[in-house]
Symmetry: C2
Subunit: 189 residues, 2 copies
């Protein structure tokens, strides 16, 4: 049932079967309809999600009142509103299924409990945080240093699935540009 | 000599005296002149720094050719160009002492060696990454969602030392605004 989650975890850390059972026991399966929210802004992010089918989008409302997407997570990836998950403060971000999705959720309390009882879970979370830090910082640098065309070209190179699989509206929200600008960029290339 | 570093580490994790000695043994003291660089862009960030006196600035050159500051680290804080430190790819960022400074440096190789031999060091690094993630993401959100005045007001509230201690040029580079705009904001408040 959760083969994808098992192989994801065991690809990152060395755990015994007993430890793996403890870890997996904390993950609950959830089915989501397209466009269903699993977190709204103002709520505290108390779960982390692993996607086995579909796609979660993490977004916020920017200064112009537009939705700006920070991150898309597809199959075999984790996603949460991580600042709120870490700080237990209210989230600025929403999390939404942009396709019909199947995910596994682990509670913050259980996630941190595992840090105390399974030393390798510290390593798992460390690798998770390293990846999240690198991804997020590259997003920050790209907002600060690239124009729309450069951002789109980098997206095509590094994350073509986003362009292939999702609507223009969502791709535009990820690049923080209008759909009109996105259409113009596409026709140029 | 490195009391500040010792108390920083032992405030985060529970280590034996023997483990602490191993950890401290990897930190080398360095004295820096004002404006001295400890990392230039294009280099790989192979050290993490703990500041015992002075201030390190992490900055990059933005799309307009201006210096944009991502982070100031003062006494009792760690700092490095963390994306490059994690990925071993070339850094987009510079690290510079903006005051005469005394720091301790640990090599990437030694830092990761400690993860393998001292389980609590995984926890130390996890806390380090959580803080770095939260700090950096808040910076990203502030660039995306706040205007210059809001950014300046938040800085005064959360990090007044930056305004008190550093030059207008450096404060402006942190807010990613011109010195003229900063002067205007200051006269308004």
């Amino acid at each position: 049932m959760n083969d994808l989650l098992t192989s994801y975890i065991t690809s990152k850390i060395a755990v015994t079967d007993a430890e793996l059972d403890i870890i997996l026991g904390f993950f609950k399966p959830i089915k989501l309809r397209k466009n269903e929210l699993v977190l709204a802004n103002g709520e505290i992010s108390q779960r982390s999600f692993f996607i086995t089918r579909g796609c979660l989008r993490i977004f916020f409302i920017n200064e112009s009142g537009q939705e700006a997407t920070r991150y898309f997570a597809f199959e075999n990836q984790f996603a949460t509103a991580l600042v709120s998950f870490i700080t237990a403060e209210e989230s600025d971000e929403f999390i939404q299924a942009v396709e019909e999705s199947e995910i596994y959720a682990i509670n913050h309390k259980d996630f941190y409990y595992l840090l105390g009882v399974i030393p390798q879970w510290e390593k798992f979370y460390r690798i998770y945080l390293e990846l999240a830090y690198v991804t997020n910082t590259r997003r920050l640098m790209s907002f600060l240093m690239q124009d729309a065309l450069e951002k789109y070209q980098q997206l095509l190179k590094e994350n073509p699935m986003i362009v292939r699989r999702l609507s223009n509206r969502l791709v535009a929200s990820y690049l923080n540009i209008s759909q009109e600008t996105l259409s113009r960029l596409k026709s140029k290339l």
